[in-house]
Amino acid sequence: MRDPYEVLGVPRDASDEEIKKAYRALAKKYHPDLNPGDKEAEKRMKEINDAYDRIKSGQTGDTGGGAYQQQQSYGSGGYDPFGGYNPFGGFYGWQQQERREAPDEPTELRAARNYINAGHYQEALHVLSTVEKRDARWYYLSALANSGAGSRILALDHARRAVQLDPDEPTYQQLLYQLENVGRAYQQFGRGYDMTGGGAGKVCMGLCLANLLCRLLGGYGGIYCC
């Protein structure tokens, strides 16, 4: 397979912007709408798309990953091996570890663990809800199950609780680290942008009655036209 940077015609240390510009220029040139019935253009378009996807997902075929990967730092996310775009997909690799059982593990927790390993998160959550004693292990499994079920906020909260209750357990720390990584990636992407709260409170964008009536009666909008 050709080197993706070569396909896009950019150097290996190309910036994010250079890669995107190069991709767009080529995509415009070989777009099927502009080259109807042209098999060669179709092939080129596919090659260009593949090259772009490979650079974006870090599958550039070299160990260094190119300068691009170093800038991007995607955290746990990216294109997951199951083919879908899933920034929270970092867990799949972990399930292997979950097979380990503690000898004194209560039946419910073991059942929840098995459900999580099998990807049956709702069942895991159901079993967990029947457990009264909520220790670090419970919060850890709950975090895993919630994350799998798409309950991101609760997953983060419970991972934090597990670490609070048992700060020395590395698997709990690892899970928390991984969940927090998505937020860390956000901060990294947004370096240089002002992320402090503006304190503007709820922004009323034209749903106040007075404005509404004014607009309705006038028949013209855009009161908030900047």
Binding site: D16, E17, K20, K21, R24, A27, N49, Y52, K56, Q72, Y74, G75, G77, Y85, N86, P87, F88, N146, G150, S151, R152, I153, L154, L156, D157, E180, V182, G183, R184, A185, Y186, Q187, F189, G190, Y193, D194, M195, T196, G197, G198, G199, A200, G201, K202, V203, C204, M205, G206, N211, L212, R215, L216, G219, Y220, G221, G222, I223, Y224, C225, C226
Partner: protein
Amino acid sequence: MFGYVIARRDALGPEEVRRYRGCYCGLCRALGDQGRRCRFTLTYDLAFLALLESSLYEPPERAGARRCLPHPLRPQPFWRTEATDYAAAMNVLLSYEKLLDDRRDDGSLRARLLAPLLRAPAERAARAWPRQAEAVRSALGRLADLERAQTGDLDAAAASFGALMAELFVWRRDRWEEPLRALGDGLGRYIYTLDALLDLGEDREKGRYNPLSAAAGDVTPQRFRPALEMLLGGAAQAFETLPLVQDVSILRNVLYSGVWTAFPKKEGRT
């Protein structure tokens, strides 16, 4: 929607302000094409959608400058594309379904008065974009069910709104569908969660439903900041995989800075 997806103006250069403002005015004009009365539904959130889709697909732009009621003297420059028309249709669709929802909910006077006015243009938009219309209806329906059940399941409610936004962000079903869906989903979850946080005090006072009412401990926006960053992280990871060049600095301003505009400055009242 809620008006949270806006740019932080003071961090934009003059040319960026011109583009952003032009996009917003373009959306207002596109809304006017769907029916004059549609213009009152104008939101910044949907201007972001117009800006994003215009950047991704770069459809031909039409630009001009026109006077309007709020600016009767100085003609306002605007630009619009086919993506602006799409965003306008989504704006009408969302506003109408929300009004119907409010009307069912508490028979609010505002909703009863305004819903009939939007009916015809909203039905046109729904015929043109059936997938999106269905997504809006089913998500608002799910939210209503959760509200009736008085659930404290913040994730489920946020995910419903995320699903709605995910569908709206997919204008054309092509190779960008998945990242667009993830971007819409993350932003939608963020918007819903932030709104629940900011409304909590008032909702408690008035005895209105809020998924955070049952939450243990002191519910402050600051406590939820890491969760909000995580939700936006999902959106940002998807955003950064899109090959966006045109207006990308404005889009990043919104996603990394502007979305925090309504967030309280520091620890304080909820």
